[in-house]
Amino acid sequence: MHTVLTRGNATVAYSLSVLAGLTFCCFISTVFLDYRTDANIKTVRVLVKNVPDYGASRQKHDLGYVTFDLETNLTNIFNWNVKQLFLYLTAEYETATNQLNQVVLWDKIILRGDNAVLDFKNMNTKYYFWDDGNGLKDNKNVTLSLSWNIIPNAGLLPSVRSTGKHIFKFPSEYASSI
């Protein structure tokens, strides 16, 4: 500690060590929190068409067309260790060819400080609802659920499913036009 440089070095190194300790405290203060909350999801229009899947093998696959309502309040999920939430709406169902299908239909990023009270009506999906085959027509049990991915300042990035979900059916006939 006998030159300016050694004193400066010691001060900077100690500050960085203290910063690492504070970051760990920030992580510990939020690692056991329960980030689940409720969400209200409803479907408004549900159609299914059978069209050639241009991305895959040109065979005709089922294409679902869904508009939905989404209402939820996510303000209590934000704390000093949550920088943003990545929300995504998933449709889960079973078909004759596949035991579990999960398709992401819509997503949204909510930054800390943005309005986290969501009330969407008649939302179109962002992504196409292709099925791997023809399992959507007359499918009686399709579950829509909202999940979110937590992006923290320090620590784990959990993926949390909301407690609310919505089960709907596809019609038993293909629609001729949307």
């Binding site: 500690m1 006998h2 030159t3 300016v4 004193r7 400066g8 010691a10 001060t11 900077v12 100690y14 500050s15 203290v18 910063l19 300790g21 504070l22 970051t23 405290c25 920030c26 203060s29 704390n79 000093w80 260790n81 300042n153 320090a154």
Partner: protein, 97 residues
């Protein structure tokens, strides 16, 4: 570079090190509590930054309080006596070879 004396005596160095750590730790704890209250980790980091600046200001420049216990050097020995003793020690080395 400017020819400024930047030394501190040993007691001063101990004081400076202890004070720098106390100040930074104190501001770290204050920052953590304040950040938890307003729920913004950025505020914690800013408070720690302020603590770092205050600690640098207090402990890095060689203030007079760090020079209160200067080392007591012995008085310089007479030059003639020194030459005599160095010659005799050289002779001793030659004999051993």
């Amino acid at each position: 570079m400017l020819d400024i004396q930047t030394h501190m005596d040993f007691v001063g160095q101990a004081k400076a090190e202890r004070w720098s750590r106390i100040i930074i730790t104190l501001f770290g704890v204050i920052g953590l509590i304040y950040g938890a209250v307003v729920q913004q980790f950025s505020q914690t980091v800013y408070v720690l930054g302020v603590g770092f600046l205050i600690s640098s200001l207090i402990t890095i420049p060689p203030w007079p309080i760090y020079r209160r216990n200067p080392l007591k050097w012995q008085k310089p020995v007479n030059i003639e006596q020194k030459q005599v003793t160095s010659d005799s020690s050289d002779e001793g080395k030659k004999k051993k070879k």
